[in-house]
């Protein structure tokens, strides 16, 4: 043991060049990753300087200082997008996590293995469907006209009457509810994987002991399953919290002009400002930078929370 420790120290006391030589093959293997990081992560950072420019096209790049930020903070749609981003992401995160926990618990209670596996496979499948396809399918199903499946069913059940079909995707009142529902359908199954893994790791002896002590099914869940899952739930929440500013694709394919007030998020705002007519890359870079700063802050907060809860950070 002592010998091994000495050997390790001996290596670390070598000069840098010697250590580089010793681990040259590791460094060589690391080169592709380093190049990738540099080209796709670090090099594009240089483009951040454009937030201080007006940049409609490459022939007209003009220094404007903080003008883009002044304009940004004065735009009502920017603040609407910011608030929407936080609201949609947080509610989606909480709902998806909650539903994933519930479904994991239900799956865990299944005794028929074949049925359990089939159910798991079915609920994983929507995760692999692209958002474009998902949006097209749900737009048809939730169609406002009487050809829409959901409205037809509701009408036939007498829940709504003809002419009062629900505008699931076209009204500000219903859009968010529909959005959360589609997200739950698409991602809950996938989200159960981590919780099922945790549940399968709980020692059966705990349940046996509780059963012997006379605990019923609810008590076993209350006092064994939930506490065992708590750490995983917090971990999943914290890890996903750091990514809430990245909301884009699901909103982009489901939004329309009537629901902009409740659906516009920062990423779709950046998209509109970048690819709409009269696009100014300087302005959209400023919006993107703001989003990144908030995202960074969230990562720091989550890292801190993670250290407190799990004893180790996420970065």
């Amino acid at each position: 043991m002592e010998k091994a420790k000495k050997k390790k120290n001996a290596v670390s006391n070598k000069p840098l060049s010697a250590r580089l030589y010793t681990y040259r093959w590791f460094y060589l293997m690391f080169v592709p990753v380093l190049v990738f990081l540099f080209v796709f992560n670090f090099w594009p950072l240089a483009g951040l300087r454009y937030m201080f420019y007006s940049y409609p096209d490459a022939d007209n790049i003009v220094w404007v200082g903080m003008e883009n930020f002044k304009r940004l903070f004065g735009e009502k749609m920017f603040w609407t997008s910011f608030v929407n981003t936080l609201e949609l992401s947080l509610v989606k995160l909480l709902l998806n996590t909650f539903m994933a926990v519930i479904i994991s618990l239900l799956l865990n209670e299944m005794v028929n293995v074949i049925f359990k596996k089939v159910t798991q496979t079915i609920i994983y499948l929507p995760h692999f469907m692209s958002w474009v396809v998902t949006a097209s399918v749900f737009t048809l199903i939730l169609s406002y006209s009487n050809a829409g499946l959901v409205n037809s069913v509701l009408e036939n059940l007498g829940i709504i009457v003809d002419g009062e079909e629900i505008k699931f995707l076209e009204s500000t009142e219903w859009w968010r509810f529909t959005y959360y529902l589609i997200n739950i359908w698409k991602d809950t199954g996938w989200g159960t994987i981590i919780f099922l893994a945790t549940l399968s790791g709980i020692s059966p002896e705990l349940y046996e002991a509780a059963q012997i002590d006379g605990a019923n099914r609810w008590q076993r869940m209350r006092w064994i399953t939930f506490p065992s899952l708590a750490n995983t739930i917090i971990t999943v929440l914290i890890l996903n919290l750091a990514k809430i500013m990245n909301l884009f694709e699901s909103v982009f394919v489901l939004t329309n002009n009537q629901v902009t007030d409740v659906s516009q998020v920062l990423q779709t705002y950046v998209y509109d400002m970048t690819f709409g007519s009269g696009a100014d890359y300087g302005f959209s870079t400023a919006v993107g930078f703001f989003r990144s700063v908030v995202g960074c802050l969230l990562v720091i907060v989550c890292n801190y929370a993670s250290k407190k809860v799990r004893g180790r950070g996420i970065v």
Partner: protein
């Protein structure tokens, strides 16, 4: 050690930033303001001192309206024919049609001009913006000195006048802009008790017809539309009967003053009509989520009886597609109702030469000299490649398969289009230039397809041109560039919110004033300066 490594990494990153900034700095230094430039003109002035390099290749960026540039429709053969006629290597870049302008905008944002195409097809909004920004070549002198202009074949010189910005021309439109007319299904008219002699002529009569159609519709609406206000001028294309003379954009009054059409009294009335239209089941309530293709499919599927769409070739396309699925296909194009007066013709899409082109004069001669040569080149851009897209050989063409198969036999020497190479279900009817819209005529005896145009297409085009006016002139300046997309997005959103009943007209206008008032003022101040 760890500190040293961090220092090295930080230095490397800093160096990267400095190098990348320096690399782009050259462009900024030379183009540090937004004053329009005229590269070709200045190039011509220096022609005596600077010899321009001959082009060895011409790169052309096109959208989906150049149908035969698409590889699925014989793009390779089209490109080869172009190369043969122009005597130069040609590279056609065809981005996805729906994201075309995103690609164009990203291309022009690239400081490395070697990635810019020499020639680009662009709509009027972008034409005005890019010309203003100085990245399109001024082709005024080239056009004025061109053989095409001197040929006497220009049938619509006005279009070149209309395309000028501050008296200079930055692109060429080979065809008129076209516009939309309202098509009504003849069977629906008959079912609603109408004859061709009592077609609606006023808004009251029109809405009466829509009322009757809404009762006939399995979906409960009479007409379908993709959005209520379009992104491209003239904006009111798809629902002209509801807008009348309201124009949701900036325009110049007779006194020369620029006003915001969105806040004019006519717009208030139009908003009321649109809200009525949705509430009464005249307009498809899914206007917000409809794509144009959804609307066409709903029309084909007989879910509605009215559809306002492009005049000319699209009239025969619509009829042909209705016939293909076995629906009664006869359509009636309505004359504009009295309150509307005229349909509006949009500004024609322009072919422009970019400032990245090393020899704009040569590109102009090669490209436009072929496209508008009045002979083989113009045929290629109008009808496509001989014996691939069209032919004059005697043959039998079969479209569709199985029970839907249909064969037509053509005599030797008879011009005819061939079957769609991708689907085979229908015949082609044009390449890029719609022969009915061409602004430069073919030379005598050179128009091979002159008799091949469907009667319904001719009728619809004639009706449109007899009853249309040009869209208000477009302008661009720094303020427009900065605020226009935000203002337009707000207008589109508010119109849809009013029509769907979520906002009252007063609330919508109050919100518009509150949120966009400053932007609108900045634009109007700049225009009226």
């Amino acid at each position: 050690m760890r500190k040293t490594f961090k220092k090295l990494l930080a230095m490397a990153l800093a160096a990267t930033m400095v190098v990348s900034m320096a690399a782009c700095g050259g462009d900024e230094g030379t183009t540090g303001n937004a004053t329009p430039t005229t590269p070709a003109t200045s190039g011509s002035e220096n022609a005596g001192t600077t010899e321009k390099k001959d082009l060895d290749k011409l790169t052309i960026m096109v959208d989906g309206t150049v149908q035969f540039a698409n590889p699925a429709h014989g793009g390779k053969q089209f490109e080869a024919e172009l190369e043969k006629l122009m005597g130069i290597d040609v590279e056609i870049i065809m981005p996805d049609h729906s994201s075309y302008y995103s690609t164009v905008s990203q291309t022009f944002a690239n400081p490395d001009k070697s990635y810019w195409p020499d020639i680009v097809l662009m709509g009027s909004t972008y034409y005005v913006q890019y010309a203003q920004n100085g990245i399109l070549v001024d082709v005024t002198d080239m056009w004025n000195n061109s053989e095409i202009k001197a040929s006497g074949r220009v049938t619509n010189p006005q279009i070149f006048e209309d395309s000028m910005i501050n008296g200079r021309l930055y692109g060429i439109a080979p065809a008129r802009g076209n516009g939309c007319v309202t098509y009504v299904k003849k069977t629906w008219l008959e079912r609603a008790g109408y004859s061709l002699n009592d077609l609606p002529k006023t808004y009251a009569e029109y809405t009466e017809m829509l009322d009757a159609f809404a009762q006939l519709s399995p979906e409960g609406y009479a007409l379908t539309s993709s959005g209520l206000v379009n992104l491209e001028a003239p904006y009111t294309n798809y629902l002209p009967e509801f807008f009348w003379n309201a124009y949701p954009d900036f325009y110049q009054t007779e006194s020369g003053e620029w006003v915001d059409g969105f806040t004019q009294p006519e717009m208030y009335d139009a908003l009321e009509r649109l809200a009525d239209g949705v509430a009464n089941g005249w307009i498809d309530p899914e206007f917000s989520t409809n794509q144009t293709s959804d609307c066409r499919n709903k029309f084909y599927a007989d879910k509605c009886g009215v559809f306002t769409y492009w005049a000319g070739t699209w009239a025969s396309n619509l009829e042909e597609n209705l016939a293909l699925i076995g629906s009664p296909s006869e359509l009636v194009a309505l004359e504009p109702i009295a309150e509307l007066g005229n349909y509006i013709e949009r500004y024609a899409p322009m072919w422009v030469i970019t400032s990245a082109c090393e020899n704009p004069e040569q590109a102009f001669d090669l490209f436009f000299g072929t496209m508008l040569d009045g002979a083989e080149g113009q045929s290629l851009w109008t009808y496509g490649v001989e014996d691939l897209h069209w032919s004059t050989k005697g043959e039998t063409i079969t479209t569709g398969t199985g029970r839907k198969a249909k064969s037509i036999t053509y005599a030797d020497g008879e011009f005819h289009f061939r079957a769609d190479l991708e689907t085979g279900v229908s015949l082609y009817n044009k390449n890029h230039i719609d022969p009915m819209l061409a602004v430069v005529a073919m030379a005598d005896g050179k128009d091979v397809g002159v008799n091949a145009i469907e009667e319904s297409a001719v009728n619809s085009a004639n009706l449109f041109y007899a009853n249309s006016v040009s869209a208000p002139k477009m302008v661009s300046n720094d303020a427009m560039y900065k605020y226009y997309s935000t203002v337009m997005a707000a207008r589109i959103m508010l119109v849809e919110l009013v029509a769907s009943g979520e906002y009252s007209i007063e609330d919508a206008m109050a919100r518009y004033q509150n949120e966009q008032g400053a932007n609108v003022k900045a634009i109007l101040d700049s225009l009226n300066k």
